[in-house]
């Protein structure tokens, strides 16, 4: 385990479960302003997340939660997180996600189909289509595909 000063507490919470609880030395996530990485002792910040991959480096899982995913050989954990926000404090990061998935939970076939559907809807450019929603759906599907590919 790294020295205490170099790790911080990380929580990922979704409405239905405590998705991740533990610690890490660094966390990467995708915000509305772009991808950010964050180390311990970061300035307190609240950021808005967009669909993307969250990577926790040197992850240690707390005993109180069970996680289906194994820590990868380089010590990191990856997860797909769609829409939510993150509260960064200097010794703790809390991600409140509406949807979060481990790579092993993703149905690749479904994700591909969803990506295709969303792309078609965007290409069709009908007046009625809710562009924002279609775009969001496409983003989510792409993230799912990407993370599933990373795992393979």
């Amino acid at each position: 385990m790294a020295e205490a000063a170099n790790v911080f507490e990380i929580q990922i919470i979704t409405p239905d479960r405590v998705f991740f609880l533990g610690s890490g030395s660094m966390i990467e996530m995708t915000t509305t302003e772009g991808e950010i990485g964050c180390y311990p002792m970061h300035v307190p910040t609240t950021v808005v997340l967009t669909p993307g991959i969250v990577t926790i480096h040197d992850a240690k899982i707390s005993d109180t939660v069970e996680i289906p995913e194994a820590i990868r050989p380089d010590g990191s954990l990856i997860a797909a997180v769609h829409t939510g926000f993150a509260e960064i404090l200097n010794d703790k990061v809390t991600i409140m996600a509406e949807v979060a998935e481990w790579p092993c939970e993703i149905d690749k076939v479904r994700a591909e189909a969803a990506a295709k559907r969303a792309q078609e809807r965007l290409d069709a450019k009908q007046e009625k289509t809710d562009l924002m929603r279609a775009e969001q759906a496409l983003k989510k599907a792409l993230v799912r595909e990407e993370i599933a590919a990373m795992e393979a």
Partner: protein, 285 residues
């Protein structure tokens, strides 16, 4: 005194009712267990959301955002969460009473968004205006339902059609205590005073506080709604379990009482027959 046959018939009918209430109690107990676990897994998300929103608002006091501003003119919207099925004691009528007994919610100036058939029945009967019926959600609430309803409500709020949003549901305190509650959701009115205020004294918001509020408040509302739905399901099953439990024991009591009466009647008829036979024999001799 009722005849032996009447008593016997009544006892049989109560016995079969008791079997039904007993079975319903068992079903409710199992469902309650499931709903209770679910309710417990929702709590961390909800608590964190509440903390974040309260610290966010504490820091952004001067921001003029539509979700925070008190408006006037529009109607009041109330989301009423009841159950689809009856036989749950006072569960549904307690929630309905929150609406009918509150002078803030006049019949003309209130739009009700009902979830649960029983609430709709009772409130339509009393002449309230039911705007929307999402009863099927109650069968198995998922987070997607909460976001969908929230989206509808927020768009109406943004359009100025409604000026205040309330949520009436039954709070699940523990297995035996459920209290009907009415909370104000919009405009957001979060109590100040978080435990660790100093933690957030210098919180930054990216991209900026307005956009963060814009994005967090809808999530806050849907998390409230989702939490309420889940707690309501747990409370419903808890209330049903209690109601069925007392129904079963009442039936038991009645059966005991009737058995006693039946035995007395039987005894009485035997005595009477004997008296008649003896009297007849004496008359002959």
């Amino acid at each position: 005194m009722a005849s032996m046959r009447d008593i016997k018939r009544r006892r049989t009918s109560i016995t079969s009712t008791q079997q039904i209430t007993k079975a319903m109690k068992l079903v409710a107990t199992v469902k309650l267990q499931k709903a209770k676990n679910h309710a417990e897994s929702v709590t961390p998300y909800f608590d964190n959301m509440y903390n974040t929103v309260s610290s966010l608002l504490a820091m952004t006091k001067n921001i003029n955002h539509p979700y925070l501003k008190v408006k006037s003119g529009g109607k009041k919207a109330v989301v009423v969460i009841t159950s689809n099925r009856g036989l749950a004691g006072g569960y549904n009528s307690n929630v309905v009473k929150l609406i009918t007994g509150d002078s803030r919610f006049s019949k003309e100036n209130t739009d009700l968004y009902c979830i649960g058939h029983k609430g709709i029945e009772a409130l339509t009967h009393r002449g309230y205006n039911i705007t929307d019926d999402d009863s099927e959600v109650m069968e198995a609430p998922v987070y997607g339902d909460a976001t969908r309803i929230t989206r509808i409500l927020l768009s109406r709020y943004a359009a100025g059609e409604i000026s205040e949003l309330y949520l009436c549901y039954t709070h699940f305190k523990n297995t035996v205590v459920h209290e009907p509650r009415c909370i104000k959701v919009l405009p957001v009115d979060v109590k100040k005073g978080r435990k660790k205020d100093d933690d957030n004294a210098l919180m930054n918001f990216e991209p900026n506080p307005e956009e963060v509020i814009d994005m967090i408040i809808p999530k806050y509302v849907s998390s409230l709604l989702y939490g309420a739905l889940i707690e309501a399901v747990a409370s419903e099953n808890g209330a049903r379990m209690q109601a069925m439990d007392s129904a079963t024991s009442n039936a038991e009591e009645m059966i005991n009482d009737l058995t006693l009466k039946y035995n007395r009647a039987r005894q009485g008829s035997i005595t009477q027959e004997l008296t008649e036979i003896i009297a007849g024999a004496e008359a002959i001799s």
